[in-house]
Structures are given as structure tokens and as C-alpha cells.
């Protein structure tokens, strides 16, 4: 297991390096935005990976409620944590790009707002996991994970309607219409690298969560043995 992890870690590092070269040197400079546009190669893959991880969190939550297996709970925790981290990268790289291009850090545009709401939902999931105690945490967290995921399409619809009613002129000139093929290559390399990185993080956190659970159980068992051993 450990060698496999190390091999994958080295591969991910190489991939990240290559994807970096693709994004910084090989992809052509965007005509109007210039080099600022290159942040897009980190922004978009992070977003996709974050959304994928939230979906994994939902599946793991459902699986936990049905089967009650600790593995599903550990996966739910790991995917939510890593998902929130990647979503944070999205919310940070967005404004860095927006400032020189739109002239403002933030706008209440549909996609920005729904990503922010998504982030808030999963942060609240982590807060719940942090504050809940004892063996009931996995069930409560799984319930909230399902609520959160079910909410996502409703959030999306609400905010899209909200923003189509009040259009924002600053959005004009955004990217998305017709990428240069070389830009696409850079996007895909970065996507692969970030997906690998996320996979590694989730894996580590998953093993860690399982290990800390096993440790807690061992402690409980040890104190139980001690109690029964000391009383005649």
C-alpha cells in the first residue's frame, strides 16, 4: 500500500510539473487578457474537482446510511474536506483574475454566487462534524450531506433566475467561447494533475480517519478491560 502511494505521489508531482509548463509556457497567451488568463488553468480544474468531490460525499453519505460501514463515513469526511479546500482555491483564484479583467474583486454573478453558497453548505457540514461528539457523528453528518447535495440544484436554479432578472454588464468578454486547442491541452493536463492530487489527499485523509477511529475504539476497549480487570 505504501509503495503504491509513493509511486502515485511521485507521478502526481511529475504531472503537476508538466501541467504547470503546459499552462505557463506552452499554452498561447490570450489575446485580450494577456498572461492573467493563465490562472484559468488552475481555476477551472479546481472547480471541477471540487464538484466531483461533493458528489462523492453525497454517494458516501447515502452509502453510510444504508450500510453503516465506517469506510463510507471516512470517505464522506475526506471528500468533504478536500472538496472544501479545492472550492476555496476556486473562490480565491476567481477574484485574482477578476480584479485586472473586470476591475472588481467580486460580483454577485450567478456562477460566483452559487459556488459561494456551495462552499458555505460544505463548510457547515465540516462545522457540524467538528462540533458533534460521539458515535452519532457519522449519521448526523450523512443526513446533512444529503440535505446539502439535494439543495445544490435548487440553489443553482434560484441564483440563475435571480441573476437573469438583474443582468450584470461586467460579465461580457468572459472566457468560454472557443478555446484554442493548445489551451484545451493545458486545461486537460491540469485537470488530470489536480484530480490525481485530490485523489491522493482523499486517500490520506480516508486512511487517517479510519486509523483515528480504530485508535478511539482501542482506547475505549483498553479502559473497559482495565475497569473489568481492576474490580473483583
Amino acid at each position: 500500500m505504501k509503495t503504491l502511494f509513493n509511486v502515485l505521489a511521485v507521478l502526481t508531482l511529475l504531472l503537476l510539473g508538466y501541467a504547470f509548463c503546459q499552462a505557463m509556457f506552452i499554452a498561447p497567451t490570450e489575446a485580450t487578457m494577456g498572461d492573467v488568463q493563465r490562472i484559468f488553468y488552475y481555476h477551472l480544474p479546481s472547480a471541477w474537482v471540487a464538484f466531483l468531490l461533493f458528489f462523492v460525499n453525497f454517494l458516501a453519505s447515502v452509502c453510510y446510511l444504508i450500510r453503516r460501514n465506517p469506510g463510507a463515513d471516512a470517505l464522506a469526511l475526506a471528500s468533504a474536506e478536500v472538496g472544501v479546500s479545492f472550492c476555496t482555491i476556486v473562490l480565491l483564484t476567481g477574484p485574482i483574475w477578476a480584479r485586472p479583467i473586470w476591475g472588481i474583486w467580486w460580483t454577485w454573478d450567478a456562477r460566483l454566487t452559487s459556488t459561494l453558497v456551495l462552499w458555505l453548505i460544505y463548510v457547515s457540514y465540516l462545522v457540524l462534524r467538528h462540533y458533534a461528539t460521539g458515535g452519532q457523528v457519522p449519521v448526523l453528518a450523512a443526513a446533512l450531506g444529503i440535505f446539502g447535495f439535494v439543495d445544490v440544484p435548487i440553489v443553482y436554479m434560484a441564483i440563475r433566475w435571480f441573476r437573469t432578472q438583474h443582468p450584470q454588464p461586467v460579465i461580457a468578454g468572459g472566457q468560454g467561447s472557443g478555446l484554442d486547442p493548445r489551451m484545451w491541452i493545458a486545461v486537460l493536463w491540469n485537470l488530470a494533475a489536480f484530480a490525481m492530487l485530490a485523489f491522493l489527499f482523499v486517500w490520506v485523509r480516508y486512511r487517517q480517519a479510519l486509523a483515528s477511529r480504530a485508535l478511539e475504539e482501542a482506547h475505549a476497549q483498553a479502559s473497559l478491560d482495565f475497569e473489568t480487570g481492576s474490580t473483583p
Binding site: 457547515s124 462545522v127 457540524l128 462540533y131 440535505f147 441564483i159 432578472q165
Partner: protein, 228 residues
Amino acid sequence: MTSAPSLWAITRRTLAKDLRLEWRSKDAINSMLFFALLVVVIFSFGFDPTAEESRKIAGGLLWVAILFATVVALNQTWTRELRNQVLDAYRLSPAPPQALFLAKTLGNFIFVAILEVLMVPLFVVFYNLRSVGPVWQLGVVALLATWALVVNGTFFAALSIRTRSREIMLPLILFPISIPALLAMVDATTSILTGDSSPIFWIRLLAVYDFVFTIVGLLLFEPVLNAE
């Protein structure tokens, strides 16, 4: 007793018990009302709107005030059952957990509805409100919006009594999930008050939200109640 009482019968009994308790103690409704009144007064210090402006902001102010007041009431729904281990007794009883959830949600719905009936005239007076759009639509929005707040609120209150610092926990998990419902209720109310646009989309969205989360809440309440 030949057959087990139906889900609805148990729901009604539990609801009747909650309403009687509330009628005698008036814990939830009093604290909720006074809290909402405070919020309205404090808001009015922050804004000094003309009649035209107040039409635009009243929807937001009203629903934020009601949301905060609802949280005050929701925090008390389940703590009441923790005294004397009532909740544990409920868990041991063969009564379906869905009945408990429905009864609590209906109870909170009634409390918040009473709050709204008392608060709305205050808003009209304090903010000099006159609706441009049809007023009956506001009634529809209020019914759907109140259900949206209490159905998730009751569920998350049950969830947060299992955590440390439960009073703080409830808004932290309730508000993010409720964002689309809040957006819908505020925008529906504003568009009716100003008469600028049709509130139909928002009313539909609230209905979908209510439907979806009532189902999800009923399905997931049993594991949450019995979580150990």
C-alpha cells in the same frame, strides 16, 4: 386496543400535547415575539426609508427578522423533550418517528404563523408600507415560506441537539441550506410589494423546495432520531 393508531392520529396527539404545553408556558412564542420586535426596531435605526424605498427593502427585512425569530423558537422545540428523558421514551415507543417530526414541524409552523400575523401589521405601520401588487399573493408566499423555514429548521434542530453548543449550531447548519428559500421568499415578497415583476417563479421554487425537503426530512428523520 385492537389496531395500532394511525400515523396521523399520533401526529395529532403529539401536536396537541405541544400546543397545550406552549399555551400554558408560552415560552417559545413570547421569546420569539419579543426578539422579532427588537429586530424590527433595530432595523429601523439602520434605515430611514421613504415609502417607495421601504417597499423595496421590506421583504428582506421582514423575512430576516422572521428567520432570526424562528431560530429562537426552533432551539426550544427539542430541548423541551430532553428534560425527563422524554425523547428517549419516544425512541423506545413503537410510535413512528415520522409522526414526531410532522407534529413538531406543524407545531413550529403554527408558532411562526402566529408570529407573522402579529409582525406584519407592525411592519406596515413602522415602514409605512402599501403593496402595489395583489396582497393575497403575499399570503401564498407566507404559507410556503414559513413551511420552508420550519421543515428544515425542525430537522436541523433535532440534529443540533446532539452536538456541543447546540444553540450556536442550529443557525450554522440551517442558514446555508436555506439560502435558496430565503432568496425566493425575499424576492417574491419584494416583487409583489413593488409590482415590478411576477413572483410566479419564486412561488414555484418555494413549492419545490418545500416538497423536496419535506420528503428528505421524513426519510432521514428516523436515523437521526435513533443515532447513537
